[in-house]
Structures are given as C-alpha cells and as structure tokens.
C-alpha cells in the first residue's frame, strides 16, 4: 500500500520549514533525499562496529565483513545480478572511468555515445581519443530527444563499445536499451549503460537486458553520497585489467610480483566506504519495499500534471518530447534569452522550491543546440501534487516579471 503521507515521514529533510515555509525538493535527478532508514543504517555502522571488512578477524571486523557481503548480495539481487558481478565504486562516474581505463582499447577502435551524455560518459572517451587515438562517434537523437533505432542499426557498424545513458538527466528520455543491446551485440560491440538516472525509477534487470556493463550511483537512489556500483558480466570482469590497485586488490605480493584477487575485489582498491555501502543496501531495501510500480505511477502523475500546467505558461519551452510519459520524472525547460539560474534562485527565495538550473553536466548538448541553459524539475515518489501547485503558481509569477 503506497501511503504518501507515511512515506514522507521517512524523509527528515522535507519535514522541516525554512523561513516559515515548507521545503519543496524538485532536484532528485541530481540527488535524492535520504530516508531515515538509510541514515540509521549508516549510524549503526559507526555506532556498533566501525571497523575494517575482510581483513580483521576480531568481532567488529567479522560483523562488518558479514554486513558488506550481505549488502553486495542484496544490491546484486536488486538488478538481478550475481554478487561477484558487483564492483563498489564511489559513483557512476568512477565506474565509467574504470571501464574507459580498463577496457582493451587501441588506436582506431570506435566508441559510440549519444548526443546527450553526461560529462561522465563523454570526457573519459574524449581523453582516450587524445591518449590512444580511439575514435569517438556521437549518435544523434531525434529532434524531440527520442532514440532512433533505425539510425542506430547503421551507426553501430564497426563500433567496439556502445556507451549510452539509459535515462537522460537532461530531458528524462529513456533509450530502448534491450533493443540497442541486442543490435550492438549482433554487431560484436560491447554495451555500457549509464543507469545513474534510471536505476531509481525503473526496475533494472541486467539478465533481461543482457547488458555487458552497467553503472549507477547511490546518491540518486536514496543512498549515501560517495557510493556507486559497476555491474559487469563476470566473464568480462575477469578479463578486465584493474584501473586502480593496492590494498584489498591482491592475494599476495613479493618484491617482484603480485597476484590479483578475482573480480570484484581486484577493482576495489583501498579501504571501502563501509558505512556508505551499508547505507546503499538500506536504500535498495527501501526502494524494493516501496515498489517500482508505485514509484512509476506517482512520478508519471506528477510529471503529467506539471507538464500540462507548465505548457500553459507563455514562452516556456520544454526540452525533450511533449509527452510527459516519455520523460521519466524530469521536466527540463527554458525561456529564450533568459538565464534560468534566475528562475531557480527566485523559486528558492520565494517558496523554497529547489530546482536545478544550468547545463546539468551536458554542456555539449547545450553548446550544439545553442541554448544557454535550462531549469530542471525532477520529481520522486515523495513529491506531491500540492507541491507542484505551489511551484506552478510561483513560476507563473516569476515569469510574469522577468
């Protein structure tokens, strides 16, 4: 049973007032709020057994080792993976950098990304273009931001790696990942999915998708900051050379040699963020408990209502498809000739509505389209229609004076 009022009680940060007004948080695409279950799980680590996992044999060490093992198993299960296929990272960006630096890429190899990639899935490849001489191709979306499968069939030929954002943080459009992976695999290309924006909003099943690699961040799915996951098919992980090595990545060393641990440990150099991983586990459990059907239903309701209201306001243009159902929980909008930071600041100052403004780390797309920036509203299941109404009223007033 999806009881919004009860659910909202779990989020301490939306149950407070600033300057006598309630906080309205519409920036979940950047960072979701944290339920107290996640915060308490992390507290438990620090209060009960703040020790190292996997090396210390004392009681605290054993307790943490057990907890991290359980967390890895739960997180793997969350995306229908095997626990050996889960590499803990600091975030999706680190996962993508790990892949860019670990995959066996040589001069002339072709990487294909979309035209709406977050800098995290753009710059690592651009760096390899300069360092190794690989080729980086951009796959253009349709004019409304949707994915063109027919064009993709052509574009993927001769490509070694397809690395694409699953749900765009710019316009909320989700690409048809399953079909893309099938086509790419037929062409012999590996597929990396940046699921940072999708994993918290839709059920991800790596087996069903048959994806080769998938990355996501904890902070966008109710989890703590500084946590992330790289999923890789085990046979691929086994072949990958580690990007960072050191403590926890080796079985033993001599002065002349070393023997690496198997995946996933060989990729997890140094002491891990145990509290973060335990918090991420709690977040996964919380999401499972809420259920993605409920999450989707609430987000769609909010996005449709807000889209309908925003389109009534003169001069506002929404980035991406007109159909709110194709934009996940995101509405990215702009007004020609206006710095949207102004809108974001005024929303914050007037009614405590927190939205993101700027280029959302997709500078390349804004540069290409010659759009200065946008304001981005991103909902999550804890938002309400009443909050949307406050936002719309304020937006109408603000656009009337700017």
């Amino acid at each position: 049973m999806f009881n919004l009022e009860t659910i909202r009680q779990d989020f301490p940060s939306i149950n407070k007032k600033i300057n006598g007004k309630e906080v309205i948080y519409f920036d979940s695409a950047c960072m979701t709020l944290k339920p107290r279950q996640v915060i308490e799980a992390m507290d438990t680590y620090y209060n009960q057994h703040p020790a190292c996992a996997g090396r210390s044999v004392h009681k605290f060490g054993e307790a943490v080792t057990k907890k991290i093992k359980e967390s890895r198993k739960n997180i793997a299960s969350f995306i229908n993976a095997n626990e050996k296929e889960i590499v803990f990272t600091r975030n999706a960006t680190e996962g993508l950098n790990l892949l860019a630096n670990s995959l066996d890429l040589c001069s002339g190899d072709v990487i294909l990304t979309t035209d709406k990639e977050h800098n995290s899935n753009l710059v690592p490849w651009q760096l390899l273009v300069k360092r190794k001489g690989i080729k980086h191709k951009i796959f253009r979306s349709n004019s409304d931001g949707t994915f063109n499968l027919d064009n993709f069939r052509e574009a993927v030929r001769g490509v070694k790696i397809v690395s694409m954002v699953h749900t765009s943080n710019l316009d909320g459009v989700t690409i048809p990942a399953k079909e893309i992976i099938k086509i790419a695999n037929e062409q012999g290309a590996l597929v990396i999915l940046d699921a940072a924006q999708s994993v918290a909003h839709t059920k991800i099943d790596v087996r069903d998708l048959n994806v080769d690699f998938l990355v996501f961040s904890g902070h966008k799915m109710l989890g703590p900051t500084g946590t992330g996951v790289l999923y890789g098919r085990y046979e691929l992980l086994e072949k990958l050379a580690p990007f960072m090595v050191g403590g926890s990545t080796v079985e033993y060393t001599t002065y002349d040699d070393y023997r690496l641990l198997p995946a996933p440990e060989k990729f997890e150099a140094g002491l891990q963020d145990y509290a973060g991983i335990i918090g991420l586990d709690a977040a996964v459990k919380y999401l499972d408990n809420i259920g993605f059907e409920n999450i989707n239903e609430q987000e769609k309701k909010l996005n449709k209502y807000a889209t309908d209201e925003i389109t009534k306001i003169p001069n506002i243009k929404i980035i991406g498809p007109a159909d709110s159902g194709l934009r996940s929980s995101i509405i990215s909008f702009y007004i020609e000739g206006l710095d949207m930071h102004k809108i974001a600041l005024m929303l914050d100052n007037s009614v405590n509505v927190m939205v993101r403004s700027g280029r959302h780390c997709v500078h390349s797309w804004f540069d290409d389209k010659d759009i200065y920036n946008s304001a981005r509203v991103s909902f999550y299941f804890y938002n309400t229609i009443e909050e949307v109404n406050i936002f719309i009223d304020a937006l109408k007033k603000i656009t009337a004076i700017l």
Binding site: D339, H341, K342, L345, M346, D348, N349, S350, K397, I398, A400, I401, L402
Partner: protein, 311 residues
C-alpha cells in the same frame, strides 16, 4: 554595481549580524574579482537581485517587473546614494570628532552623534536670556579686538586661548572646566573676558575687573569660584559680599573701585571690544584666533592646538 553596494551595506550590517557578515564576505569576493578583471563566479549579483525581486513580487508585480527591467539603473542610483551618504556620514563623523558638530565648526542642525545639539548650545546675548538658541552664522573673529584690557595669563606660549563667557551661563560653565584644563595642560596663554549675557550679572564685570586690579593673580581663583558656585549666589550682591569676604578681599576697597569712573569706563570699553568680535552667544572660545561657539568637547579644543586636522 550591486556587488559594491552590497559590500558597503552588508559590511555595516555585518557589524551586528553574522548572516550579513557572510554576505559581506561574498560581496567582497565579488568586488575584488571585478577589480582584478576576473568574473564574479559566486552568482552573488543574481542572488541579491532575486531576493529583492521576490520581496517586491510578493507586494506588487508591477514594481517587481519595473525593478527587474531597470535593475542596473536602480543599482547605479542607489550606488550614488550610498556613496554620497557614506561620504556625508564619514564627513559628519570627522566633523563631530574634530569640531563637536556633524555639520562643521559652529554649525547647528541635526547631528546623529549629538542629537540634542549640546555642543552648540549658547546663551544668546542678543536676547539677554539663557537658553538654547538657533545657530547664527556671523563671522566671529578676534581681529580688531584689543585684548590688552582683559585679565590675561601670558606665559610666552605661541598658543593663546581666549574665553568670552558669562558667569551665569550654563554653557560657559560647561566649557569653563575644559578650557582651564586645556590652558593648564597645554601651557597656553589665556585671556578671560566676561560678557554678561543676563542683566542681573552685569555688576560682576566691574567686580571681576576690580578684583584683578586690586589683588592681581588672586583674581583667577575668584574667577574659578564664580564659575563653580551655585548660580543663585551670584545673582544677589549681598551674597557677593560674603564671597568677597570669604576670599579675604577688602569689600570697601572693592566697592570703591567698582564705583570709580575709571572702572565704569574700562568695563564699558571691554564690552565694546567684545562686540567687535561679532559674537552672538556665550561661551565663545578663540584658540589662536579660531572661534568655537558653544561648549565643545575637550578633544575639539585639544585638536585645534595639536593641528591634527585632515580637511
């Protein structure tokens, strides 16, 4: 422009509030970046602008729209106001410190540091009554006044202090102690002239003159006493006799001197000489010829001697 205004405004408010102190720091960063030709990357201007617009928007859409449209113009206007008022505040503070009035030496008018105008209060000699009066802007000067006929302590200093006051005037009494302290500590020449601002104390001019004539330097302690004793005691001549008696002066000798035509002439001459200064109230103090009308704080007199004046 708004960064500079904010820096000034928030710096002042920051003296009393930590929140404004943080904003002042941000404004300072913004201003220093501007002055070093670097972009202001804190979005400070937008933050402040949005706060102002939201404030206006909640009251009047028209005003908010107007403010948004002409924000730079309003910023400039406000900047000029801020700079101008800051200049006047600094000037006022300077004037108050060095001259005892925000508006300049001997200038009346409202002064925030001296709201009651205590440092400019005088006994108006034209009305012949004690009390606060409006400032008059005559050019009070010592030139043309013969100082040799007044009681003087000439110790050969390069500095000379002249006090024209009335025994009965509260404001002269207020200034008197500071003048004595100044003369004593700075070792200046000193000339005292009694201007009877109230008719009933006219006779004290003759008595003062005669005490000086008959008893020489003992006059100064007698003079000090007249400025410190309860005013009631100097209104009546009967009381005065007691005072003279207490000082050990020969009353008959003093009375004889007072009645002498020479005394009447010289006191009358003293009065004429004092009027040549165009003074309009007591106390009027001249320090090396510069007039200070009203009881100024001690530091004002002192700084005139020390010459620590900027403008």
């Amino acid at each position: 422009m708004i960064c500079i205004i904010s820096l000034i405004v928030f710096s002042l408010l920051g003296l009393f509030s930590a929140t404004h102190r943080a904003l002042a720091k941000e404004a300072f960063d913004c201003v220093s970046r501007r002055f070093t030709f670097r972009p202001c990357n804190t979005r400070f201007k937008e933050k402040i602008k949005s706060k102002i617009l939201v404030y206006l928007m909640n009251r009047s859409t028209f005003l908010a729209r107007l403010a948004n449209k002409h924000f730079e113009l309003f910023s400039w206007i406000f900047f000029i106001f801020v700079i101008t008022s800051t200049f006047y505040v600094i000037k006022g503070g300077y004037n108050y410190y060095f001259y005892g009035s925000c508006n300049g030496l001997n200038q009346s008018g409202f002064c925030a540091f001296d709201p009651k105008g205590e440092n400019n209060k005088i006994t108006d000699i034209n009305q012949g009554q004690c009390g606060a009066v409006e400032k008059k802007e005559e050019n009070v000067t010592l030139s043309g006044m013969d100082l040799s006929i007044f009681p003087a302590k000439n110790i050969g200093s390069k500095d000379t202090v002249v006090l024209i006051g009335c025994y009965e005037c509260d404001y002269t009494r207020k200034a008197y102690a500071d003048i004595q302290k100044l003369v004593r500590n700075q070792k200046t020449n000193y000339i005292f002239a009694h201007y009877p601002a109230k008719e009933q104390t006219n006779y004290l001019s003759e008595i003062g003159y005669c005490v000086k004539k008959e008893y020489g330097e003992r006059f100064w302690s007698f003079n000090d006493y007249l400025f410190t004793v309860d005013k009631v005691e100097i209104y009546e001549q009967d009381y005065m006799e007691k005072i003279l008696n207490n000082f050990g002066f020969d009353i008959a000798r003093i009375n004889e001197c007072v009645k002498s035509p020479d005394t009447v002439n010289i006191v009358s001459r003293q009065l004429k000489e004092m009027k040549k200064t165009h003074l309009y109230g007591t106390p009027t103090v001249f320090i090396n010829g510069k007039a200070f009308v009203g009881p100024k704080p001690y530091r004002v007199y002192l700084h005139e001697l020390k010459k620590f004046i900027l403008f």
